[in-house]
Amino acid sequence: MAAQLLGVTPTGAQRGARRAGAAVADAFADVPRFLWLKLALLGGSFRRSVWQIVGLSIASLYGLGIMVALVGGLIAARFVPQTEIVRDVVVLVGAVAVVGFLLLPLVFGVDDTLDPRKFALFGIPASRLSVGLVAGSLVSVPPAVLAVCAFATVITWAHGFWTVVIALIAAAIAIVTCALAGRVSTAIAGFLLDTRRSRELTGVIGVVLVLAISPLVIYFSQIDWGRQGTGVLTAWADVLRFTPVGAAWAAPADAVLGHAWLAALELAIALATVVLLWLVWRALVDVMLVTPGRTGDTKVYAGLGWFGRVPAQAWSVIAARSLTYWARDSRYWVSIIVIPIIPALVLGSMSVVHAIPGQYLALLPLPIMALFLGWGVHNDVAYDGTAIWLHVVSGTTGLADRVGRLVPVLFLGVPLIVIGTIVSVAFYGDARAALPLIGVSVCELFVGLGLSSVTSALFPYPVPKPGDSPFAQPQNVGAVSALVQGFSIAIIIVLSAPAIVFGVLSVFASPGWAWASLWCGVLVGAAAVVAGVVGGGAIFNRRGPQMLEAAVKAA
């Protein structure tokens, strides 16, 4: 084919075609090896601790469940007469899947088992390596689910020989598109964002994405699906059908509908996408093979920062260290940014279902934020990673450690409660609500801090390592983390229950309960924070080596 375009003699053309075929065959020569490698890696992850196997099994079951549901839906859709609606749904879901493959590596850090640079020293030709890595990347739970679902669409569009053929081609294109998109964005995440500073940038990208998605979520949640649902669906699908992310999913549907030209156009767009992604991927592999890690520019800080502003006591330098980390470590930024997002989402969903009359909604955000702010440091020791050895080895008292770690939260929490109360009362329209608001928020924040002082010393569980993306999945996550998270938030709510109940009574029954809510909240909060800091300090003193051991295991 290529030879004919070049205009060579028939024999030459044959030879050229044979040569081109041989080149393609050669490029695929290592595919089985990469598949085996990835299978071995997958098998290896089952040979770790019991909890990891449980986690992986749950993930696989979850994937399997989604897959069965999707495949069932796709087969059932074969018998739905409204082909347009089926097409629009498939296009939307498919487009989300492609976008997911493209964006998630940027947010969640890098699956670097298939980084081309790891194979640089084996001397594998770049063409073979590029093909092999893409093939290898398919051996994983998400691509497997995608592949099965993509081929299930063949059944959905099985309305005749040609639609089946087109559907098969389109499904293959969709799978390759996703695999390539994943490779390209992983390569970009691992390569262009390789320096420490830019790796932390991925955390920022993630936060921005969360921020960007939340209006979308609210937008979708506010649509009255019963009445205007199909209209919105069609509007979105009509655009996505002709974009690289949706074209492959729409082509067989339009073939079924008899729009041959549309189907051809969509197939062309999908094919062009694959070719383009392939070229980008090949270029990236070529560059990465000869480019070792980069080193970024480093920023120079003058002076001691917070350390120069606090007294030279153990608790105060630990506070200075914590403050510095809250300012410099992207893992802490996430908790700062997520805290206002949670009440926004809660309010958004509540206003949609009209669960609570309008004005009372104004009283909700502050207590929710206080709850999560206090709870947010319940695993603070784990964030240090193995660096906690310094506290152990220097005989730092648990009390100093506990108190120091609470300071940044108070720096955020106290202004939050003061400003939050003023704003909430302004929106609510009754100044008397200030007392229970303060009572409940102070109670939640301080109980949270007290509890965090105990749990962070007693049950550290793995978190993203310092320098990793804050969304990176830490290794060795057991069920412990979910238990600790769930129980700690439940205990905060239980201990704050009196203040909450009195506060609710003051709003709905009699304003006389307001003072009860305030006093109850402040006293319970104060008692909890003192007990937590003292008790957590004692635990810290006793468990130094165990905490380090946990950190080493998590590393």
């Binding site: 120079v300 003058a302 007294p311 030279a312 193995t386 080895v393 080493v552």
Partner: protein, 372 residues
Amino acid sequence: MSSLPEPTPDEEPQPARAPRASAPRPKPRGASASGAKPAAASASAAKPAAPKTPAKTPAKTPAKTPAKTTARTPAKPRTPRSTTSRSTTPRSTTPRAPRAAQPTTRSKPAPKPQPAPVPKPTALGIRQLYKRFGETVALDGVSIEVPEGSFYGIVGPNGAGKTTTLSIVSGLLRPDSGQVVVHDVDVWKDPNHAKRLIGVLPDRLRLFDRLTGAQLLYYSGTLRGLDAKTVKARVESLVTAFGLENAMGRLVADYSAGMTKKIALAAALIHSPRVLVLDEPFESVDPVSAANITEILQKYVASGGTVVLSSHSMDLIQRVCDHVAVVVAGVVLDSGTTEVVRGDKTLEERFVELAGGRKAAEGLEWLHSFSE
């Protein structure tokens, strides 16, 4: 990347404790042992009872029956090492200024290990440490007596238990049983007192690397209970001594591996501890810096401090350390003054011999006919 434990038994050369017939045991120095290494006598407990047929020597018995007889002479004030090559200015036991910063006039830092006539008090007593990680036995009765003012090297193959031992010594890892005593303070019974006496450089543990170099040193010093003025003065002199002037304003996360080592070492020195426990202090440190660090440590030892370090570099240990212990598979195979342990061989030769001899490079003939 688990770093603290070293449970990699597959790498342990099995015949370690029973040297092969082809590699005959070096001539035992039974006679000289009593006279030449008095302070390390109990440390030599781990040494196989001298003149026996090597193959018959029971594997673990020597390590498990420590002869703690001459071990600990009653606490004496820290005596300067009676080395002729060194100035013998009397040293007090009062808290010392940071030695790293002290300009010194002594021009011959290299300590020539010589048999000391009087047994020196033990600075660090490691006694019968046992530690297992699950099924893996990491330490199988490790005992080492480190005399005061000694420069003590611990050598061993990968996974021998060096890091585990040093972690237990520094209070970072709880032993299953056994005792660690630093200047008569039990590390695991009175940890807070003991920790004040020890400066620690762990291997492969993180630093608070989101801090700048200056902040990290200030942080370490303050956690050690120093006041702001002292910390600042000491940081300044440490920075000069380690050549870190240009790195103070940068985040430790952006340091190279060698620089990270250096700042961690500086942080370990900042409270002028009496004993320094350094795990692989020279790994990935450039030769110039290594020489510089060695000199700092030698001056520290000369003024009465005690250094315990682990290293893979036999040359360095032989050159720098006056005492050495060979740890293989969680057992101390030999210990004492460097001269006595190595005998008439180089330390490397002696080490390879103790660690089970070199693996014969058979079966690699294909390596000598190149494929392309």
